[in-house]
């Protein structure tokens, strides 16, 4: 069953459990020394487990049944010694291997973070934050709780149980066979139920992730929920997700209970069978009463692990779902994977200073099923020049920026940066060339200085940048000036102030080409006029591509492109476009009204 299962799995896109586990093994392999220490204490633990029932048989048959108690104190001391050995070896085993597990989880979490930062924008578009968060928290928690402990238990129990069975065979094969006969039914039931449970846990995990994602969205948008008096609407939806999770979970409970109880029941039935078989053997003096009693007592040691085995399996099942989730995340293609990128040598010093950008017949759509958002767009920009993009929202202005920063990839046509094809330039190389001023301002929960300099430049440069964009005065007026820590996304700042910080941030980045996206949109006029001044300066000193609603901002641009539905419908400088009396002139007219 297992073999055929894995064969069919090969054809599916998902890997089998073993393959997935193997990919995670490398994390544990790093801590080989602890694994070796842990495993080498196992033989001692096994020996203790076998010596204990053996000494028990001895006591029953040689002291208890005969009434000769001279050797009894010695035997009891041996048994106590065996117990101490058991404790020490078990503790070493458990601790060193749990250590490996927890350290590996630490490492996996760090690796995931590194990976997530390198995932393309498209991943974040399709994955709610709640899902990614639960990969990094609850899935890893479940591996720590369920997988590590489950596997440790199973390994230990399997070895001990196998050892015991062999030991029992050596003592009496008939009685041992009685125990062995009960194995297949237990295994079949276990297998069947685990299969059922597995499907159910997959359902519970995914419905949990969905309800977590929804909850998170609602809580982050709580103001919107309240302002729209939509409390009961979101509660109903959340309740339906919670119920879905509950139902799958309750079903899983029934299977879980059945498995547990059936195995427990079989243990007591085995007792009866051993006594029955034993009675015939005792009758024919083939076996002593001590052996029968020892067998009955050992049943716990064999069947309890098997019962634990099933609950450990359940735990591990649970963690397999988590492994699968993590594996998905590990299989998300990173940015720039499988692309033919220029090597360091090929690039040489060609990207040290910005020379030019050339868009040649560039078309782009976000998904192959979507319509094109850019259609045969061509333009070029040389160092020291300014290019402005004008157009209604959705005309494709922002897409141009997103392509340049390689936020989205897979354009058609050609984009040359300093004569090199953009798609082949490693993203990191672009960071020294381009500085993007983001449309949505994100502030770290750090102080103002950090938020401007992002720990890349010194304080002097930060203050300089802040002064440059006229943010210095308001920053000084904050409770702790540049050291004011911005909490929960900069709630203590107005939208305009946030933009000023973002602008200052862009100034410190030192890119030679500034990309400004709707930079001055929601700032009030008085502050905006200050920013205008800064912008004028930027326009004079730097190479700029700007998207702006204020046509005044871009008036001095060398080239203005008017976009509509992904196509350039007008191009030229301000004066030329005014001459043409086309769309741009119309927009200008409107703005003046």
């Amino acid at each position: 069953m297992n073999k055929s299962g894995s064969k069919t799995d090969l054809n599916k896109p998902t890997k089998s459990d073993w393959q997935i586990l193997f990919t995670f093994w490398q994390y544990a392999a790093k801590y080989k020394i602890y694994i070796i220490i842990g495993l080498s204490s196992m033989p001692f633990s096994l020996a203790a487990n076998l010596l204990f029932p053996w000494l028990m048989i001895k006591i029953i048959d040689e002291q208890l049944m005969t009434g000769q108690l001279e050797q009894l104190p010695l035997m009891l001391m041996y048994m106590s010694g065996v117990l101490v050995m058991n404790y020490i070896s078990d503790a070493i085993y458990s601790y060193s291997l749990r250590l490996v597990g927890q350290r590996s989880i630490f490492d996996i979490r760090q690796t995931l973070i590194t990976r997530i930062v390198k995932l393309p924008r498209a991943y974040f578009d399709k994955t709610p934050t709640g899902v990614t968060l639960s990969r990094l928290t609850s899935d890893l928690e479940s591996i720590g709780d369920s997988f590590v402990l489950g596997v440790l238990g199973i390994v230990k129990d399997t070895i001990n149980t196998l050892g015991l069975i062999i030991f029992l065979y050596l003592i009496n094969w008939q009685l041992a066979t009685v125990i062995l006969v009960l194995f297949p039914p237990i295994l079949i039931i276990t297998k069947y139920v685990s299969h059922k449970l597995r499907g159910l846990y997959q359902t519970t995990r995914s419905s949990l992730a969905r309800s977590t994602g929804y909850l998170q969205e609602c809580i982050r948008g709580i103001t919107t929920v309240q302002l729209f008096a939509a409390e009961s609407e979101v509660e109903d939806k959340y309740k339906s997700l919670t119920d879905e999770f509950l139902h799958a979970q309750v079903k899983a409970n029934v299977w879980d209970a059945t498995l547990f109880s059936v195995v427990a029941g079989i243990t007591t039935i085995a007792m009866a069978l051993i006594i029955w078989t034993g009675s015939n053997l005792v009758l024919s003096s083939a076996v002593s009463l001590g052996v029968v009693i020892a067998f009955i007592n050992t049943l716990e040691k064999i069947f309890v692990p098997i019962r634990e085995f099933t609950s450990q399996i359940t735990e591990i099942q649970r963690s397999f779902a988590a492994f699968e989730h993590l594996n998905e995340l590990f299989n998300e293609p990173l940015e720039e994977t499988g692309q033919d990128l220029y090597s360091e040598n090929e690039i040489g010093d060609q990207l040290d200073t910005f020379v030019s950008i050339d868009f040649k017949q560039v078309s782009f759509r976000y998904k192959s099923s979507d319509p094109y958002v850019l259609n045969n767009v061509s333009f070029s920009l040389k160092q020291g020049r300014q290019l402005a993009l004008v157009g209604t929202t959705g005309s494709g202005k922002s897409t141009v920026m997103r392509l340049l920063t390689k936020t989205y990839e897979g354009y058609e046509g050609s984009i040359l940066v300093n004569g090199l094809e953009l798609s082949n330039i490693p993203k990191l190389k672009l960071s020294t060339l381009f500085t993007m001023m983001q449309q949505d301002v994100f502030l770290f929960e750090q102080d103002v200085s950090f938020n401007i300099g992002l720990a890349k430049v010194d304080q002097a440069a930060i203050v300089k940048a802040a002064k440059y964009v006229y943010a210095h005065d308001f920053i000084e007026s904050l409770p702790a000036g540049y050291n004011t820590v911005l909490t929960s996304g900069g709630d203590q700042l107005s939208a305009g102030q946030k933009q000023l910080i973002s602008f200052a941030r862009a100034m410190t980045s030192g890119g030679q080409l500034m990309l400004l996206d709707e930079a001055t949109s929601s700032i009030d006029s008085v502050t905006e006029s200050l920013i205008q001044k800064a912008l004028e300066r930027v326009f004079q000193e730097r190479t700029v591509i700007a998207i702006a609603h204020r046509l005044s901002t871009i008036r001095e641009s060398d080239q203005i492109l008017v976009l509509e539905a992904g196509e350039i419908i007008e191009r030229g400088n301000h004066d030329e476009l005014v001459e043409t009396k086309g769309v741009y002139a119309g927009l200008l007219q409107e703005e003046l009204v």
């Binding site: 208890l64 630490f106 309240q226 609603h549």
Partner: protein, 611 residues
């Protein structure tokens, strides 16, 4: 029902126990039966073993009888045990689901004062992680507790019946092991809480970074992010390992007590058997009971930590459940009452607002000073102001997002603080500067807020369809370009959309479920002038008889309003219609000119550059 009254931990536990009383009663019954059978079976085994040590051929029938009794009892026990686990474990899940819904409902009723102090990452972590502790508490925790209680009362009784002295000796190792266990457990308790906090910090940090992913990626801050996470990750690892040390080195002591008991039973038993005070069968029964006596203590090890964890989790859940909700916020107007207050005049009388300063407790400068105005139904009001002028604060007072004192804002004759926020928000719809969209289809986003909310037709007795609302918000052309048109999923927080598109979706939302008063707080900032004009036109057409408050720094959006208030440093420095303000207010005029005349703008810049 949990929403309205603060409760103690005990009341809370009792509330959920009572809610699941049927499950719990059945579970207790079945658990008792399981335990009874469990102590009976060793007695049956004892009888058969004693038969074995006697003359077997004589007692063949009795032996067979004993064996069938054991098998029969086992079968019955399987069924009862399944039932006991089902009824014992399910309440944990029921409580989990119920509590999640309760917490969510509570969070929805808590006002901005609470939410601005508690960030969303922390709240989410409480609902996701702490609730696991509570589920285990009400599920496996309670089930095992009853198991332990029954096992610990039945087993010693059965043991005592066989041999009182041996029973007492058996209790010795268990009692001493339990003392060691307690020692470890007290330490464990503190560490569970510490671990929960570390995990919560880590979650908060992760949420924060995930939401700033664009900046992190654009600025190549990989290393910094990794270091920051590594710190929280390390803290979590350290405390986890401390917990594991206790679990590995101290807690198992209890398990070994069981084996020690077996040694005692064999040693003392041998002496007693030699004195003929005990049979071999009774020793066998005793060995079985020793396991049954040790097992509850062992699971007590696990269960006490589960209960403890549950208590810790309950505590953090109660920070939400017991947060104070203004009782008026739970009131709900009836349909008739809602109808009767419609179309009233909004009047603001001497509104002064100052934010609490938590750190210093000093009285801060008020953000709004003596604001007064009236807005009769159907009129349009504009509010103009610069950064820090108090525009958004005023909006958040009008929609009662901020906690207000009574006597400042009235709707008709009624003070709005007398209404619940929920009822008031059905009258006042606010479209915020940074619109919030859900990762759902565009249509669902437009429909947001319409369910359970009687659609509010305009005077012509009709309301807009989703398509009409989208059209009026100037989104139709944009939507044509989406892969699934209005059924396109727009991604979390509307990530697939540009700032301007998001703002227009939120306009469509407001048009689809219109309220009597619509407040647009700087909504059209990311929309170009042409679209802005079209949208303002549509708003005027579609919402003829409704009141409109438009907050903006762009005069172009305000110039057609019936009245414009000019705000500066929290005060109304001028008011009137556009033309009048151009004459009366220097500030208004300056702003107008700044926005109007590029030439003047340039001139100013040149002057500054020269100086």
């Amino acid at each position: 029902m949990l929403v309205d009254t603060p409760q103690s931990k005990g009341q809370l536990i009792w509330h959920y126990l009572w809610q699941n009383r049927l499950s719990y009663s059945l579970a207790i019954l079945f658990i008792f039966l399981v335990n009874l059978l469990q102590v009976e079976i060793p007695l049956m085994v004892k009888t058969t073993i004693d038969l074995l040590s006697g003359d077997i051929s004589q007692n063949h029938d009795a032996l067979l009888n004993g064996i069938f009794m054991i098998i029969g009892a086992s079968m019955v026990m399987i069924v009862i045990r399944i039932l006991s686990r089902m009824f014992g474990l399910n309440p944990g899940r029921f409580v989990e689901a119920q509590l999640k819904n309760d917490l969510f409902a509570k969070l929805n009723r808590l006002t901005d004062g609470f939410h601005s102090k508690n960030n969303s990452g922390k709240l989410i972590s409480i609902i996701n992680n702490d609730i696991t502790g509570i589920r285990l508490f009400f599920g496996i925790g309670f089930m095992s507790m009853f198991n332990i209680i029954f096992a610990l009362s039945l087993t010693p009784i059965y043991m005592w019946r066989i041999s009182p002295s041996l029973t007492l000796y058996c209790l010795l190792p268990i009692a001493s092991a339990f003392i060691i266990y307690r020692f470890g457990f007290v330490q464990l308790r503190a560490m569970w809480t510490a671990r929960m906090n570390s995990l919560q910090n880590l979650s908060e940090q992760l949420v924060h970074f995930l939401s700033g992913m664009d900046v992190i990626k654009a600025e190549f801050m990989d290393d910094w992010v990794q270091q920051e996470i590594a710190q929280s990750n390390q803290k979590l690892l350290d405390v986890t390992l401390k917990i594991q040390r206790i679990q590995v080195f101290i807690l198992p002591i209890l398990n070994y007590a069981n084996e020690v008991m077996k040694i005692l039973i064999l040693g003392l038993g041998a002496v007693l058997v030699s004195k003929s005070e005990l049979t071999v069968g009774e020793i066998t029964a005793f060995l079985s009971y020793s396991v049954m006596l040790a097992m509850p203590f062992m699971s007590l090890g696990r269960i006490l930590s589960v209960l403890q964890m549950g208590m810790a989790s309950l505590k953090s859940v109660m920070t939400i459940l017991n947060a104070k909700v203004d009782p008026t916020n739970l009131l709900r107007l009836s349909a008739e009452e809602t109808q009767s207050i419609k179309r009233s005049t909004l009047s603001v009388k001497n509104l002064t607002y100052r934010y609490d300063n938590n750190e210093t407790n000093e009285l801060t400068e008020p953000t709004l000073k003596n604001i007064s105005f009236e807005l009769p139904q159907g009129k349009k009001l504009g509010i103009l102001g610069s950064i820090g002028s108090g525009k958004t604060t005023l909006v958040n007072c009008l929609n009662h997002l901020l906690d207000l004192e009574a006597g400042c804002i009235f709707y008709g004759a009624q003070d709005i603080t007398q209404y619940s926020r929920h009822d008031w928000h059905k009258q006042v719809r606010t479209i915020t500067q940074e619109p919030y969209l859900f990762s759902a289809t565009l249509t669902e986003n437009v429909e947001f807020g319409s369910k359970n909310n009687e659609l509010n037709p305009n005077t012509a007795g009709q309301h807009l369809s989703v398509a009409q609302a989208i059209e009026a918000a100037q989104l139709t052309n944009d939507i044509k370009r989406f892969s699934n048109q209005a059924d396109t999923i727009v991604g979390e927080k509307g990530i697939m959309l540009s700032g301007g598109q998001k703002q227009r979706v939120s306009i469509a939302r407001a048009l689809y479920t219109p309220a009597d008063i619509l407040i647009l707080d700087n909504v059209l900032s990311a929309v170009d002038y042409e679209t802005e004009r079209a949208i303002m036109g549509e708003l005027n057409n579609k919402l003829v008889d409704r009141s409109l408050i438009v907050v903006s720094h762009r005069i172009s959006a305000l110039q057609d309003m019936d009245e414009i208030l000019v705000l500066k440093e929290g005060e109304i420095i001028a008011r009137g219609k556009h033309q009048q303000l151009l004459k009366d207010s220097a500030y208004y005029k300056q702003t107008w000119q700044l926005q109007q005349s590029e030439q003047q703008n340039e001139l100013q810049n040149d002057q500054e550059a020269n100086s």
